[in-house]
């Protein structure tokens, strides 16, 4: 039987969580936010998204977590930065992230880039979480006003 999967988003405290159905980025700290209500002003950053992959149900082992942007082009002045190996929760910020500081891969990285208990070689053998994936959008002053192209993120994993 396959494992069950959910995206869990962490908000204003480590215990304040929500199940995400999208990763919309905006100027407020909320899960599944309406981006038109919370637009990102050009020359600023979105609130960081702190999410974890949650695996439950019946499985022997989950490992080799790989995360990348599988669809959606960047607009002018738009960049998405991330990290997938943060073990401790810290309050999300709307200023430049000190964690999400690498461009999100735009193709399958081939090797694990999201850690479990602090290492990319670890695996889950019972219900549990990956480490934090942190995402932040940087919008430059040259960005055009309006909706940016939708991005799709893929998390690939090996289930044994």
């Amino acid at each position: 039987m396959a494992a069950d999967f959910a995206w869990i988003e962490y908000l204003s405290t480590a215990g304040d969580t929500a199940t995400s159905t999208n990763l919309n980025l905006g100027s407020t700290l909320a899960a599944n936010l309406a981006p038109s209500t919370y637009p990102i002003t050009a020359g600023t950053y979105s609130y960081e998204k702190w999410i974890r992959a949650y695996f439950s149900g019946t499985f022997t082992r989950i490992e080799n977590l790989q995360f990348w942007k599988s669809a959606g082009e960047y607009g002018t002045g738009e960049t998405l930065k991330w990290t997938g190996q943060q073990t401790e929760w810290v309050a999300p910020t709307t200023t430049v992230s000190t964690y999400a500081d690498t461009a999100v891969p735009t193709s399958d990285p081939g090797t694990a880039n999201v850690s479990i208990t602090g290492t990319t070689t670890a695996s889950l053998v019972a219900s549990g979480y990956s480490d934090f994936i942190i995402l932040q959008a940087s919008i430059g002053l040259t960005a055009t006003a309006g909706a940016v192209a939708q991005k799709t993120f893929t998390l690939q994993y090996d289930e044994v």
Binding site: A3, F5, T41, Y45
Partner: protein, 270 residues
Amino acid sequence: MASETINSLAVVKNPAVTPLAVRYYCTEDEWRNYSGYTNQHDFPSSEVVLFLENATEQVKKDAFHRIRWELVTKDSNDRYFTARKYWGNKYGTHEDKTEIRHGEITKYDIEVWEADTTSSVAASLFLQGTRVNRLQYVIPYYAVTEIDPVNCWFKLSSDYPTSGRQVFVTYYVAGKPMQEIGYELKRACMEYAIVLALKKLKRKRLKFGTTSLSLGKKSLTRDENAFDEMVKDHMKEYHGWIRWIKPFIGRKAKIGRMETVDSRRMFNRN
């Protein structure tokens, strides 16, 4: 191998997109209606827009006083106050990509800098007139989180200033709050645009044998003196508006026991 996907959307708000109406202190239509220069042959739109752009810059340079790199300290509410009131529009921003909204003050009208705190040794060298290598670092606009152009303060995000650095600001001072001088700025801009248009017209038409010109409500025969007199009148009118807008910059002068007092001086500071 299994995979999960999730989508992400975002919307950008870009206040840098400046509507044409606030690119200059007055619009082409307002200028044509006021001046009566509706003749597209002598005053084509492409030239009028250029005159309005240059007139706007000239008004800013004549009416606002630049204060460069003023040291500011913050109060208990994290507000950095400038010493003088009231903030005016920044000049030197006439290019198309300007983020200045003319007649309104935004964070793009001030420049915020940070520099290493002056050590006592450096300060004493500076007081002796010695040059001290003190580097200024610009604080980006996204770090300016809030401004109040009437009370003349701004706030910075928690990332700034960098530890060990002091905040400096370059800003522009008008004699009155901007919301009170919209009309005056418009009239000054119109007058200077007329001066520019007439100077161009003098070179283009009077020098090349035109015998008479019909300018709005006025009709001129080929008379350079009458033409120059008209330009002078508009310059005089222009300076009248500028005097109304500009701040008092100076000190009280004392001659004998008499002392000059500029009533606007206290008004400007409060």
